[in-house]
Amino acid sequence: MDPTTGLPRRIVKETQRLQAEPVAGIQCEPFPENPRHFKVVLSGPSETPYEGGVFHLELFLPADYPMAPPKVRMLTKLYHPNFDLIGRICLDILKDKWSPALQIRTVLLSIQALLSTPEPDDPLDPKIAEHWKRDREDAEETAREYTRKYAVP
């Protein structure tokens, strides 16, 4: 059976639009064997410690999407207070601030924005958050090192 058979129209339309009108710095395409599972590549935003980096993520639309938020995980190692060591992301719209009016596109833009604006007051990694609050410049230097080392194109 074609894996896209019976895929909700909303998901079909979002997928088509992601490909027809891609967002700058974001690539997102479904895996051929699972149309709810997407391979995502984000470019690190300019003028941030992530600039020049290529960040791989994966996204999954659960059975109750869009009533429930997509699940997203960062696969590239990075130094950022709102990501943990296995790529879980602390972002309100992926949790209690989710609304069915949001889309895959808005989620990925929000993750890009999170790279630009780390929120050490709502951390997933308390050690990195503490570093950020104590010496932001030094933390950003570490983040740049990680970008050079791990977020290689």
């Binding site: 058979t5 019976g6 895929l7 699940k71 995980r73 296995i86 879980r88």
Partner: protein, 140 residues
């Protein structure tokens, strides 16, 4: 007809990890007696896990804690995880040299690491009637 929703390996394992962290995902009567978590908190592949099982209550194994290693390869959850007892136990589904557990019967994609651990704890009831190695010995 709607195609079945297939939860990818990584997101299934992340759910299992979260349940394990909260102590959830384990049904009665095993809740509180089995636990599991990632062996390495930086393992982005989510492959190697540590687990422990407290023997079934009111049996000769009731006050023993068994350590296990659980390995989920790339084919998980199409295939069950590989489970190895670290703590010695004399049980028919456990290789007495290596501690490796023979394939868990009835596996399907809805099963989990917790399902396997509960199954093993259930099997321990029968094993508890057999002669057991001294407490705390490990398979080498």
């Amino acid at each position: 007809m709607a195609a079945p929703v297939i939860v990818p390996r990584s997101f299934k394992l992340l759910d299992e990890l979260e349940q394990g962290e909260k102590g959830g995902g384990v049904p009665a009567p095993h809740a509180g007696f089995v636990s599991y978590g990632l062996a390495d908190p930086e393992d982005i592949t989510l492959s190697s896990w540590n687990a422990s099982i407290i023997g079934p209550q009111n049996t000769s194994l009731g006050d023993r804690i068994f350590s296990l290693k659980v390995y989920c390869d790339d084919s998980y959850p199409d295939n069950p995880p590989e489970i190895t007892f670290v703590t010695k136990i004399n049980m028919s589904c456990v290789n007495q040299t290596t501690g490796v557990v023979s394939k868990i019967p009835g596996w399907n994609r809805d099963c989990s690491i917790a399902t396997c651990l509960c199954y093993l704890r259930e099997q321990m009831k029968r094993a508890s009637r057999h002669h057991q190695p001294p407490e705390g010995e490990e398979f080498s």
